[in-house]
């Protein structure tokens, strides 16, 4: 007797849920796991990276416009001469010569009468030099020593002299968060619209799906542009606009699923128990839709990122000084022949992320829907 009670109390053999199965299948998919890791790495890089990047994404270095990417520090030796000549010209003094001494430069300047020691400010203002000090000053000439200001531009700089590395990372924040948030918005609208249409059925379903059909036949680009025109070039409303366009597929998929769920016994049972229809929808239908919704969402995120980049590419999306990968690619495409790194770096970030998202989406589909395999 006691034994039986003990046996009953001992934990049952752990069953494997649908999600447990899916997880084990997903972790067996090497491409999907590697892509997932890459995405996490990319997200961490974009969120934390700008804090450690050598330059701020907003800072403009006028002396460093369109410098090519380099792993060694700027200024390069051949840049120093022109920059010092430029400083002398700005200070309206004659340059008598300069020599490099370790990480400092000695600059000899001459002019008419006493030279104001505040010429050091002209030197400090250059992006190449800092900490300028007057060494000796005689009437008509002055010797100034300045420290070389070493800067790193691993991805080079853009046409206004901003660091491409930190701009690419900050742009990644925008692109990724728009992808995620607008994806969620699209999924939320689509799920509730589709589930409602499929669950109520009949006339309501036909009218609701007819609306989806009409929205489908509108030229996509026209639809997006109209939304942007309505909402203005507001950063937050971009999410809504993008999300509001991409819910149509989701609505169709969810409606189809709901139609087949509705006829199943457990829904009939719930109806027989007298549970209210909104409650059946929320508690029984929507949770059962989760599988296809998750799959579709992972495939939707890259679409949203592409759409956002496309809008930004056309100039409707994110505005300066913020940027997204689309903005950077657009700028890169414009300055391409002379500065191809402006296209290549943002494009490779975007493409690798999209690839990884696709692999994760395919992996999830295989994991959650083994029939499809």
């Amino acid at each position: 007797m006691n034994e039986i009670a003990n046996k009953a109390a001992s934990p049952a053999i752990a069953g494997r849920s649908l999600w447990g199965h899916a997880l084990s299948r997903f972790s067996g998919n090497r491409a999907a796991m590697a892509s997932g890791a890459y995405l996490l790495f990319m997200a961490a890089l974009c969120i934390v990276g700008p804090l450690f990047a050598p330059n701020s994404y907003e800072a403009i270095y006028q002396n460093y416009t369109r410098v090519p990417p380099s792993l060694s520090a700027y200024p390069k030796p051949d840049m120093l001469g022109p920059a010092i000549e430029d400083v002398a010209a700005r200070a309206r003094l004659t340059l008598n010569g300069w020599e490099q001494d370790g990480d400092r430069v000695n600059i000899r300047l001459s002019g008419n009468g006493d030279i104001d020691p505040r010429v050091t400010r002209y030197i400090d203002r250059s992006d190449l030099l800092e900490d300028a000090k007057v060494v000796t000053s005689t009437p008509g000439s002055i010797l100034v020593s300045a420290k070389l200001e070493s800067r790193y531009f691993f991805f080079g700089t853009d046409s206004t002299g901003r660091d491409l590395l930190s701009r690419t990372l900050v742009a990644g924040r925008i692109s990724l968060s728009i992808g995620l948030l607008a994806g969620l918005i699209a999924v939320a609208i689509g799920v509730f619209y589709g589930a409602t249409a499929g669950f109520i059925g009949g006339r309501v379903d036909q009218v609701m799906m007819r609306i989806v059909d009409v929205l489908y036949s509108l030229p996509f680009i026209f639809f997006v542009i109209m939304l942007v025109v309505f909402f203005g070039r507001n950063f937050l409303l971009m999410f809504v606009a993008v999300g509001a366009v991409l819910w149509l597929d989701m609505a169709r998929i969810v409606r189809g699923q709901t139609l087949s769920l509705r006829r199943q016994e457990f829904i009939e049972a719930a109806e027989a128990l007298g549970i209210s229809r909104p409650r059946i929808l929320l508690r029984h239908i929507v949770p059962n839709l989760l599988g296809p919704v998750v799959i579709y969402m992972t495939l939707l995120v890259p679409q949203v990122i592409i759409l956002e980049s496309f809008l930004s590419y056309l100039g409707f999306g994110v505005q300066e000084p913020m940027s997204s990968w689309g903005v950077l690619i657009a700028q890169g495409a414009r300055s391409m022949p002379s500065a191809n790194w402006l296209l290549i770096f943002p494009a490779s970030f975007l493409i690798t992320t999209l690839f990884a998202l696709n692999f994760v989406g395919d992996g999830l589909r295989d994991a959650l829907d083994p029939k499809d395999h």
């Binding site: 009409v214 036949s217 509108l218 026209f222 542009i225 590419y313 391409m336």
Partner: protein
């Protein structure tokens, strides 16, 4: 069959009507107007302009006027390019867009279809992996990345092709836009064809054909291809409508005088008639190609009958 086509065309009318109505009012509710952008436009001149284009009338009257003109085939004048009517703009641009889109679609169907069949016949082996890699790349990399990279390599580095321009339809000018338009479509067609072909090759009638000793060539091309074509055909309909009506990105990057670029410019400048014209053109193309898809379905699949 003819009755079916006629009925489909008749049921398309309310859809087109709904699309026109929706986009007309969406366009008009948006703030701004075609003559608001120009600063310093004299109020009297503006009032005159608005009267000429009936913009001073109540919205519902403008809507009725527009519908009336549309029924007579008049798409109206362009507001921002007063020297052209919308019909003239489209008559000049549409053939260009159709040529590029049509070439791109044809190539995508032929090449993508061939790649998909090859992948399906060599499933999980090297050719299959290669095709999947190409298809993933093609459907992942956005057009606005492919196009400038294409220019960078073939026009600026190798100098084989012109950077852009139409060049009165010279073949070298078409290569860049066509390839850029084609690649994403080719990728999707190859994927669809591969999946459908794998499934088709497992069907019972194919096993029977093997048992009857038919050659592999005729099994694949005459029997399996027929059922494998269905998903490709149903994808090709909407794709054709989208491709033939021009692409904003490709036309902008390669400086092509098609109609794709009108959409964005016209919507931003509130050039109402041009936007509406574009909407009508796209809607008509979508409906016509969906109809063609359904007819092709009946041709390919003898089980489908339209009575």
């Amino acid at each position: 069959m003819i009755r079916y086509v006629l009925r489909r065309l008749l049921t398309a009318i309310p859809t087109i009507f709904a699309i026109i109505t929706l986009s007309f009012f969406m366009m008009r509710v948006a703030p701004g107007g075609p003559f608001n952008q120009e600063r310093g436009l004299d109020p009297v001149i503006r009032a005159n302009l608005e009267r000429t284009y009936h913009l001073d009338l109540p919205l519902w009257q403008q809507y009725l006027i527009y519908l009336g003109n549309l029924l007579r085939g008049d798409l109206g004048p362009s507001f921002t390019m007063p020297e052209f009517t919308v019909a003239e703009l489209f008559r000049a641009g549409l053939p260009v867009s159709i040529q590029l889109g049509g070439l791109a679609l044809a190539l995508a169907l032929v090449l993508g279809g061939a790649l998909g069949i090859i992948a399906a016949l060599r499933q999980n082996r090297a050719p299959d992996v290669a095709v999947i890699a190409v298809a993933t790349a093609g459907s992942t990399i956005p057009t606005f990345v492919i196009a400038p990279l294409f220019q960078l390599f073939f026009a600026l580095t190798l100098k084989w092709l012109p950077v852009g321009g139409w060049g009165d339809g010279a073949l070298v000018n078409k290569i860049g836009p066509v390839v850029t338009l084609m690649l994403p479509q080719l990728a999707i067609v190859a994927r669809l064809m591969r999946g459908a072909m794998i499934e088709a090759l497992h069907a019972h009638h194919i096993r029977t054909a093997h048992a009857m000793g038919l050659s592999d060539f005729s099994i694949v091309l005459r029997h399996a291809l027929r059922s494998a074509l269905l998903p490709v055909v149903s994808y090709a309909g909407p794709a054709a409508a989208a491709l033939l009506t021009g692409s904003v990105v490709v036309e902008t990057i390669f400086s092509i005088p098609g109609i794709g670029r009108y959409f964005v410019d016209a919507a931003l400048n509130r050039d109402y008639t041009v936007v509406m014209g574009g909407v009508v053109v796209v809607a008509v193309f979508t409906i016509v190609f969906n109809l063609i898809v359904d007819i092709l379905y009946a041709v390919i699949d003898p089980r489908v009958r339209y009575e």
